[in-house]
């Protein structure tokens, strides 16, 4: 029996390794094109988000190319699907850089863990890398990540906004449930560091993103009588969190919250009544039509939302699509500034020299110390009103 199990394991390992992603082959950077490589997980765990990211990036590539490319050069786009697996992603990154002639990398697999693993490879080869994943460690400290940038909020920025919101609403005790991915763990580090300084007590219970029931954790946290329950995940188990919190706490009036990884209409709809009134920290995109016209992002967001829906049969973009679109646009703008030169150092300097780039996710202001470029001014606090996201008052 034991031998059989071993044979099985070997068999499944073989299958897994042979199931590598799609992608285009053949090196080829002629003078008339710039090759940009992208990794997003569009199959396996996390495929749902990766698919949105791929669409966002694709839209940006088409826009740049149809508007004459980068100083006359078209973007040649190489895409791989690591299927959520870090070691596959590492192989694909090497293949992109060694044999596909990729000159700049946009998109880090759709998961922070993968982006963290890609960074040393791209940096080691002097290639600029613009990630679309959340964890702060991807670009921090900036001095050690000279060539790596990202178009997502730092957990620090989000946590600052959360603390600001809690203080305004007299919340002093918070139950925090991050998942065990690097996305959740990185937020936990930041929240446990910053909240006590602001006089907010945090009680934490992590959960496995594949869990089917979180009531034990919720019940344990409830003994501390917190005023707010905050989950930090991108996975469907966040729906279970909403159901479980409402169920365990009966009709108690508490603030139920999610991080920016969970801003998704489908998830909210699936939690049904349990989702009503859920408060989230998010980029402004989901409420773009509800914010003031004077907001400098409004036109960019509107154009993005409209052309996305047009291209993908009425499908609405989400924040993930926005991040990927922004990353590709930042890359294009930086390459225009270098005159099409893809040397990592030059691209990095160009990104730091962009001043402010008005994107879908926020107004990016990259500097040599800040490779995320966003501040808490770009964060919106939004609420699910039962049918759509609206700005929370």
């Amino acid at each position: 029996m034991r031998k059989k199990i071993l044979a099985l394991l070997a068999g499944s390992a073989l299958l897994a390794s042979s199931a590598c992603g799609l992608g285009s082959s053949g090196a080829g950077d002629g003078d008339d094109s710039i090759t940009i490589g992208t990794l997003f997980t569009v199959s396996g765990a996390g495929a749902k988000l990766g698919d949105k990211m791929r669409k966002g990036a694709e839209l940006a590539v088409e826009k740049v190319n149809s508007e004459g490319g980068i100083n006359g050069k078209q973007i040649k786009w190489v895409f791989y699907d690591p299927a959520g697996d870090t070691s596959t992603a590492v192989q694909q990154t090497n293949r992109m850089l060694d044999s596909d002639g990729v000159e700049l990398v946009v998109g880090g697999g759709g998961s922070s863990g993968i982006a963290l693993a890609m960074d040393p490879i791209t940096s080691g080869k002097g290639i600029a890398f613009i990630a679309t994943e959340g964890a702060r460690q991807i670009v921090e400290p900036a001095g050690e990540h000279r060539l790596t940038f990202k178009t997502t909020f730092n957990d620090t920025t989000m946590v600052e906004k959360l603390i600001e919101y809690w203080k305004a609403n007299d919340v002093t005790k918070v139950a925090f449930m991050p998942d065990t991915s690097s996305f959740g763990q990185s937020a936990q580090e930041e929240l446990e560091r910053l909240a006590p300084e602001a006089g907010i007590e945090v009680f934490t219970a992590a959960f496995d993103p594949a869990a089917n029931d979180l009531t034990p954790q919720v019940k344990r946290l409830a003994s501390n009588d917190p005023q707010a329950y905050l989950a930090w995940t991108t996975q469907p188990s966040g729906v279970t969190f909403l159901n479980n919190v409402r169920s365990v706490l009966a009709n108690k009036d508490v603030m139920v919250m999610h991080g920016f990884g969970f801003v998704d209409d489908r998830y909210m709809q699936q939690a049904g009544k349990a989702a009503e009134g859920t408060i989230l920290v998010s980029p402004k995109l989901p409420v773009w039509d509800k914010i003031d016209d004077s907001d400098q992002q409004k036109a960019t967001m509107e154009e993005f939302a409209t052309s996305y829906a047009e291209k993908y049969g009425g499908e609405q973009p989400n924040v993930y699509a926005g991040q990927a679109y922004d990353a590709m646009m930042v890359a294009a703008e930086a390459l225009r500034a270098t005159g099409g030169d893809t040397d990592g150092e030059k691209v990095a300097q160009a990104i730091e020299g962009l001043g402010s780039h008005v994107g879908v996710t926020g107004v990016f202001k990259y500097t040599s110390d800040d490779h995320s470029g966003l501040t808490s001014d770009d964060v919106a606090v939004i609420k699910w009103d039962g049918s759509r996201f609206v700005p929370a008052e």
Partner: protein, 293 residues
């Protein structure tokens, strides 16, 4: 508050454990008939849960009808699995069948990914959305339904294997399929029934799980492994053992989530699997016969 947490942990464990138990039963049925481990079992759960939820959510099919259709679809998939492995593939040895099921599982998962367009789908609780309160703890009403269902399935399977002709034939096939064939019972027939029953069980587990969480194309794999761990824990092929194994595994996970570092709850299943394989490969209630292949 402390008793509240204890009851909560217990309820959470039983809720998820009932699902593991039904998955474990599916492993047992196929093991008994063919001697193989069917790694498509977890995917049957996914197909059952996902198709029921898709029918309900995307096509507005009434919930009971959606579940019935989902069970029918999954059962057909079980039939096709057998036809693919033993008919088209002409596989006969347990080891060959086991390994081939991994390939089928990958294909089923891939197809589900394309059909569902990677989206997640949910099903409401069959007994209404209100929570059930017991001694300061609360759980979905679906939990009760799942527990009742798992016990019913165990009773039904026990009766089936002990009291019906087909059931006895299936058990005999596990014992000595060559002798059975000399009596004119085809190996294919017994295997086909086993796969059909196991797939239907998987679909029931999926329909029971969907209201507790959200289904997507990748919901099945981990569940399959946990159901396998539960089956090993209770003794492969023993229906009562599968129930005990499933519930125990569920409660063990909940205890780790509620009292320990919940980050490691998912590891419990694999630690249990490792321990069982090392120290008691026949499972808690298994007899030596259960692993003689």
């Amino acid at each position: 508050m402390e008793t509240g947490l204890f009851i909560q942990v217990l309820l959470s464990g039983l809720s998820v454990g009932a699902i593991y138990a039904i998955v474990a039963l599916g492993f047992g049925v196929i093991f008994n008939a063919t001697g193989a481990i069917n790694f498509v079992q977890g995917e049957y759960v996914m197909v059952g849960g996902l198709s029921a939820a898709m029918l309900y959510e995307a096509w507005n099919v009434p919930i009971f009808f959606a579940i019935l259709v989902a069970i029918a679809v999954t059962t057909l998939l079980g039939f096709l699995t057998e036809a693919g492995l033993l008919g088209f593939g002409r596989l006969r040895t347990p080891a060959a069948i086991t390994i081939a099921t991994i390939a089928i599982a990958v294909i089923v998962k891939g197809a589900a990914m394309l059909i569902s367009a990677r989206d997640t789908y949910a099903l409401p609780s069959l007994l209404g959305p209100e929570a059930l309160r017991i001694l300061g703890a609360s759980t979905s009403r679906q939990t009760v339904l799942n527990l009742v269902l798992s016990v019913l399935v165990v009773v039904a399977l026990t009766v089936f294997f002990r009291r019906t002709k087909l059931g006895t034939t299936l058990r005999a096939a596990a014992g000595d399929s060559e002798t059975l064939q000399t009596f004119g019972v085809s190996y294919r027939t017994t295997a086909r029934w086993a796969f059909v029953i196991a797939a239907a069980l998987g679909a029931v587990a999926g329909a029971g799980l969907a209201p507790l969480t959200v289904m997507s194309f990748d919901s099945g794999t981990l569940l399959g492994l946990k159901g396998f761990a539960a089956a090993m824990l209770g003794g492969l092929g023993n229906p009562q053992g599968a129930l005990a194994g499933g519930l125990l595994l569920g409660v063990a996970e909940a205890v780790v989530s509620g009292y320990g570092t919940s980050a490691y709850a998912d590891v419990v299943a694999f630690v249990v699997l490792l321990a069982i394989l090392t120290f008691r490969p026949t499972g808690m209630f298994g007899t030596a016969r259960a692993v003689r292949t």
